[in-house]
Structures are given as structure tokens and as C-alpha cells.
């Protein structure tokens, strides 16, 4: 039992470190003020692509490196020590492109995959709808045959990064007379096509990462279909599996138990220093158990990957723990800071980590929902890991256009 790399892993890590030291120097410190993430992101992605650090585990035939999952993990670990602007590609390369090369036609793969790897085109994932979040197969956006193509009408929502995306993968309903999982079809859609309208949604913390997207008679050629007609649910599972791997990690440099210690030590309350108070120490221990517990659990998962085994079900607990933990840490930090916990903007307190903890508080409210709500994730653990019975789903075998009849 040890935490060391194997000889091969150590050699790869050394190579990555050397490359990052030479090529990522400008990202050593966080950027300040307004920066154009797209411009910065494209420059960084192009560098990575030229050096062979994009699609590390993907087949060489696709332009990938044919490497191991451990190599990808090592690259991610080392890259995360820099403030690189890689986030705008997380959805495209993490979820959309694997779906494209798993289910797309050869000429479509050739058209889109290399360009996406170089970072020249940005992708988004168009799944959720106003009436279909956790109940993802309940989508209504429809695609209808029209000659040798399709016409799309409807609306998506919570689409991360749609405002800067060039392309998206979209799940649509092509046969409403089938039960809801059976009448779906997946496509690649051009986000600049006539009839696509992106409207940003302002989140409670003020930023606008998500969007509503409206489709009015948007045309898609049939060769942009991913998988068979009616097979969209199975195709979307490719994306969702990759999503569960991608969503849920704590962002690099986000607050942890050490941050709470430094914050508590900086607060001299009437009853004495915060860090000396028993209830504060209990809470810090709680935070450590969960936060460090998740990172240790990841190490167990990595050990399995490193030795060529399939990771166990333990990795499924990450997001459900991390999201709520961020929320708890943020509210606890505010409680410790008393009135300073209220102040924001120019009047914000300079207490250490308080602002980052507050940001985590607002951000985590979304993280508890995105990529599978706490409730859905608990269902998954209970059903797939522990083998408990599935939920009652009275809609499962009913044709989609008759679903209104089964609502109880």
C-alpha cells in the first residue's frame, strides 16, 4: 500500500510536469479582471493539442494518444496546479465528442472530432427541458422528418455554455406514439443555424453560465444523426456516463478544512478565539472527514484504474457528498463571521477565505442539481449498488402522447 506512482506513471508525470513548466508559465497565478475566456481557452487548447495532451485515452485513429486512464488522470492532476482556462472545453471534449465518435458516421467523425480537439469549435450538450430535468426522457423538443433531413422545434434549458458554443448534441422526440424512452433520437446541431436562439439565465449569484435555447424550424441533415432513429436514449447514456465522470469534482483551489481553520483563527469573538471553541472544532472535523474522505476514495478508484481493474461503485458517492459539503462549509463560515458574513462587494470583509466560501455556498446550490440531483444520485446508489427495487414509474410503458392520462 503506497501513494507512489508506478515507474511508468512516474515517467509520464515527469514528462507532463516538464512540459507544463515550459508551456503554462503564464497561468501560474489566477487571472484578474475581465478576460476573454474563449480567446485564452483556444490558445491553451491548441498548445495542448500540438503536444499530444488532448484525447489522451482516445484511439490513435481519431487523433488521440491511445493512452491509459492513469495518464489522463496524471495530466489532469498536474494541469490543475495551474490556472489554465480549460473549462470551456469540459463539456465538449468530456461528454459531446465521445458521444459523436461512438455513434456518428465516419465522415461526420472526421469533420468534427479533430477540429474540436484543437479547440477551434466549442460544444454544448442540449438535454434538459423545462419539464424534463431529472425525468430526462420526458423531453418534448421534437424532430420531424422533412425530405432527407429533419426539422427541430422546441426548447432546452440549463444549457451550460450555449452562449459560446458552435455546435451541440441534442436529444429530441421523433416518435410521440412510443413510450418515452423509445421515441427519442440524438443529433448534432449547429448553434449558429437559423432558428436557434440562446437566452442567458442569470443565476442567483449573479453569473450567467446557463442558458435557455429555443429552436424554431431549425434544419438538420440526416447525416448529423447520432445512432439510429428511436435509439436516442441509449445514445444519451454514453453522454451521461461521461458526465458523471466529469461533473462533481471540487474545483481546484476551492476551500477545505484548512481554509476553515485559518478563517476561525482570524476571528476573535467575545467568547474567545473561534478556533478554540468546541463546536467549531467538531464542525471542522466533520468537513475534513467528508472532504478528505472523498479524495481518499478517489485514490481507491485510481488504484483500481492503475492496476487495470474497473473502478468499484464507491466512486458514485463523490458529487452527492461534495456538493452538500460546499453548501455546509459556506453557511458555517458565514455563521462564524457573524455580521461580516453579510457583507459583499466593496464592503466585503477581508477575513481569510470568507469570500471563496460564500461563493461556494451559492455555486453549490447549482451543483446539487446539475448532472443528477442529490435525489437521483441516491436512487442510483440504492438501486445499482445496493440492489434495492426501482421506483414506481407508471409512465414507463405508456405512449408519450398519452402520458397525461397516467398522472396520479
Amino acid at each position: 500500500m503506497d501513494f507512489e506512482d508506478t515507474a511508468e506513471e512516474a515517467a509520464y508525470r515527469a514528462k507532463v510536469r516538464e512540459w507544463l513548466a515550459a508551456n503554462a508559465a503564464e497561468y501560474k497565478t489566477p487571472y484578474e479582471g475581465d478576460v476573454d475566456l474563449v480567446v485564452r481557452g483556444k490558445a491553451w487548447q491548441a498548445k495542448k493539442y500540438d503536444a499530444g495532451y488532448v484525447g489522451i485515452t482516445w484511439p490513435k485513429a481519431l487523433g488521440g494518444q491511445g493512452g491509459t486512464p492513469m495518464q489522463q488522470i496524471i495530466f489532469n492532476q498536474e494541469e490543475s496546479k495551474y490556472w489554465v482556462p480549460a473549462g470551456i472545453y469540459a463539456i465538449g471534449l468530456g461528454m459531446c465528442i465521445p458521444t459523436v465518435f461512438t455513434h456518428g458516421r465516419p465522415e461526420i467523425i472526421q469533420r468534427y472530432v479533430p477540429v474540436a480537439m484543437k479547440g477551434e469549435e466549442i460544444w454544448c450538450q442540449l438535454f434538459s427541458e423545462p419539464a424534463a430535468g431529472s425525468d430526462l426522457a420526458g423531453i418534448r423538443t421534437k424532430a420531424e422528418r422533412d425530405g432527407d433531413g429533419w426539422v427541430i422545434n422546441g426548447q432546452k434549458v440549463w444549457t451550460s455554455g450555449a452562449h459560446r458554443a458552435d455546435y451541440g448534441i441534442i436529444v429530441t422526440r421523433t416518435d410521440p406514439t412510443q413510450p418515452k424512452h423509445k421515441g427519442l433520437t440524438m443529433f448534432i446541431i449547429n448553434m449558429r443555424a437559423p432558428g436557434v436562439e440562446v437566452r442567458p439565465i442569470k443565476q442567483m449569484a449573479g453569473a450567467s453560465e446557463f442558458n435557455e435555447v429555443f429552436f424554431t424550424d431549425v434544419r438538420i441533415a440526416d447525416d448529423h444523426r447520432l445512432g439510429d432513429v428511436g435509439d436516442g436514449w441509449r445514445v444519451s447514456l454514453t453522454t451521461l456516463m461521461n458526465e458523471r465522470l466529469a461533473v462533481g469534482g471540487k474545483p481546484t483551489n476551492s476551500p477545505d478544512a484548512h481554509s476553515l481553520i485559518e478563517l476561525a483563527r482570524a476571528i476573535d469573538a467575545e467568547e474567545g478565539n473561534m478556533l478554540e471553541q468546541s463546536h467549531v472544532r467538531q464542525k471542522i472535523a466533520d468537513v475534513y472527514i467528508q472532504d478528505r474522505g472523498i479524495s481518499l476514495t478517489r485514490m481507491r478508484t485510481m488504484s483500481a484504474i492503475s492496476s487495470g481493474r474497473t473502478p468499484g461503485p464507491e466512486s458514485s458517492i463523490s458529487k452527492v457528498v461534495v456538493a452538500k459539503l460546499m453548501q455546509d462549509m459556506g453557511s458555517f463560515a458565514g455563521d462564524m463571521a457573524e455580521s461580516a458574513g453579510l457583507l459583499m462587494g466593496d464592503d466585503a470583509s477581508s477575513l481569510p477565505h470568507l469570500e471563496a466560501l460564500r461563493q461556494g455556498y451559492f455555486w453549490s446550490a447549482g451543483l446539487r442539481i446539475a448532472g443528477g440531483t442529490d435525489e437521483i444520485l441516491r436512487n442510483i446508489i440504492a438501486e445499482r449498488v445496493l440492489g434495492l427495487p426501482g421506483d414506481i414509474r407508471p409512465d414507463k410503458t405508456v405512449p408519450f402522447n398519452e402520458l397525461h392520462k397516467v398522472v396520479s
Binding site: 506512482d5 472523498i294 476514495t297 492503475s306 444520485l377 446508489i381 427495487p389
Partner: protein
Amino acid sequence: MNFQFSEEAEALRDEARKFLAAESGREKARAVMNGDATHDAALWSRIAELGWTGLRIPEAHGGLGLSVLELCVLAEEVGRALSPVPFTSSVLMATELLMASGHDSAQAAWLPKLADGSAIGTVAWMEGNATRPDGSPKLACSGDRLTGAKLPVADGLAADFAIVTARDEAGALVIALVDLSATGVSRSACETVDLVRKSAKIVFSDAACTVLARADEAERLRARHLQGTAVLLAFEGLGSADAAMEMAVDYAKERVAFGRRIGGYQAVKHRCADMYIKNQLARSHAYYGAWALLTGAPELALAAAGARVAAIDALQFAAEENVQLHGGIGFTWESDCQFFYRRGRLLALNLGSRTFWSDQLVRALEQRNTDLAA
């Protein structure tokens, strides 16, 4: 990256789990709870034959000389089975402490008997009234004589010797080994929350002892022992927590209410998922503790406290929810739920409470913050 047990340790786990499933079902725990015996002596001698009592003892003293990782594996399995034997007291605590003491004559006298299971040891820290495991004991040690009392002492009626904490005339800490058959030692049964692991009150009246360590050396030995035991008890607790969760999940798959199996209701499902989450967190911390113990890493203080707190949380939650998911039957005397419920309280308090270990954990984090800043 190799954050997992070796194939040999995993093989030992499989073997131990099969053996205990066949030989140590919970009815044996119930028999001890309802009877007068201090433990299941037949099971204990089978365990000794398998070499588990001498797992870590050097071959020169008749043991197998294996590593602490194998001991962690057995601790988990004995915890899973709730085996009514003095494994925790004798193997996880007394044997480890005696070996760590480096006291040659005491080791020569007792390790061979511990190895073959003919002797049982225990460690007596507590004195009944809010004793903290790092506090100053009241038991008085004058020369090689002890006067005072310890309670509760787990497996204190079954044990042949006890390793006690005491203080000398100058107030310094003493760690001493007492042969419990010696003149001046009297024992009586002492009821605790856990009715399977029987405890005693032991009174010493000018009883002879062997001093294993004194003053600063004793402080170091105690601190190190607390950390090591925290890890081993975390594995024991983890085994019990997984067993409690499995008992709850099995019941949820069988019990029918309102026309369906209760495990299909989200209120029940989500409790089961939460048990799984806490157990996985506890498992990861326990592995970290095992690694730190094996390698003597500077992270041991932090890893041990983390393992201890996570295991306490996991077992307590699983034990409580197991009763809850069983409904009324769960809090009857006949139900096995009470074993976990009671064991949860025992393991939460027999080596310092969650409050104590949370404080230890934050101390270790503060230390690390200081080290990082330096």
C-alpha cells in the same frame, strides 16, 4: 498509486469472512449475551489455531510475524461478525501495546501465551468518571505496587493480565502490566452498554505489577498506542457498520408495506444510500490510517483521528437506521439490531469519544498548517 490491500491480505479477508460466517453467526453473540460465560471459548481456541491471536507476534515468540495490514483485515471481519471473543482487547490492544513497549522480560513472559491463545490480555485506561484517554489516571503506582480501581475493563473477567495506566508519587504517568491472578487483585462483573463484550471492575490493593514505561516514555507510548488503536478500532467499527447496513438493506428487500417492498420507497432507499456513503468514507479513512500505521508516516496523527471519527459516525448512523428501517421489531430484545446499536456506543466511547478525537483531528490539521507555513 496502490491505495489498496495486497492480494495476500485480500485472500486472508476472504478466508476470515468465510470462517466467521460459518463459525461465528450472531447467535453466538446472543448466547454469550444471555449466558454466564465471559466469551465463546470454543470459538476463541479455533481462532487461536488459525494463528490470528499471534498474527503480529514475532516468530521467535511463536507468532506469524505478519504486518499491521493483515491485522486491520481481521479487525474488520471480527467486527462484521460481532464475534463474542476478546479479540479487540487481547489482540488489537494488549498485544500491540506490549510489543510497542519494548519490555523484554514482559514480552518473553506473555507473548508466547498470547500467540497460542492460552493467555488473554486487556488494556485498562478508563476509571469510570469522565476519563479522557490522554488524562491523568487516579490509579496509584508506588514502586511496583498498584492501588485503586479501573472500570469498565473490557474482557476484564476473561483476561489473564491487564495493562493499566497509573501515576506515580511524583504524578508522572506509568504504564504497567498486572498479572490478574496476583494477590491484591479483585474483579467483579460490570455492566456496560454492550452486553456481548463483557466488562469488569478491577480493584487493586497493593497489587504487584511490572512497569513497562514511565514519565515521558510512558506518555509517548500511550500517544502512539492511542493512534494505532484508533486505526484498528476503525476497521472493527467499519466491519460492524457494513454488517448493519447489509442487515437493513436485506430487510428492505423483503419487507412489504402498502403493496410493495419497502426498499422501493425513496425515504428508505435514500437512508440506505446514506449508510453506504458514510461507510465508504469510513473505509477510505481507515485505509489511509492503515497506510500511515504501516509506514510510520508523519500523517499518522491526522490519519488515525480521521479513521476513528469516520468509523464512529458510520457505525452509529448504520446502527440507528438499521433499527429504524426494521420498524417495531427492530427494538425488541429478540432482534439482532440491538447488537449493532449497543456496539456502536461501545466503539464510540471505549477509546475516547468523538469529541476527543475531533479535537485530536483539528490539532493535527493545525500542526500541518503550521508545518506548511514554516
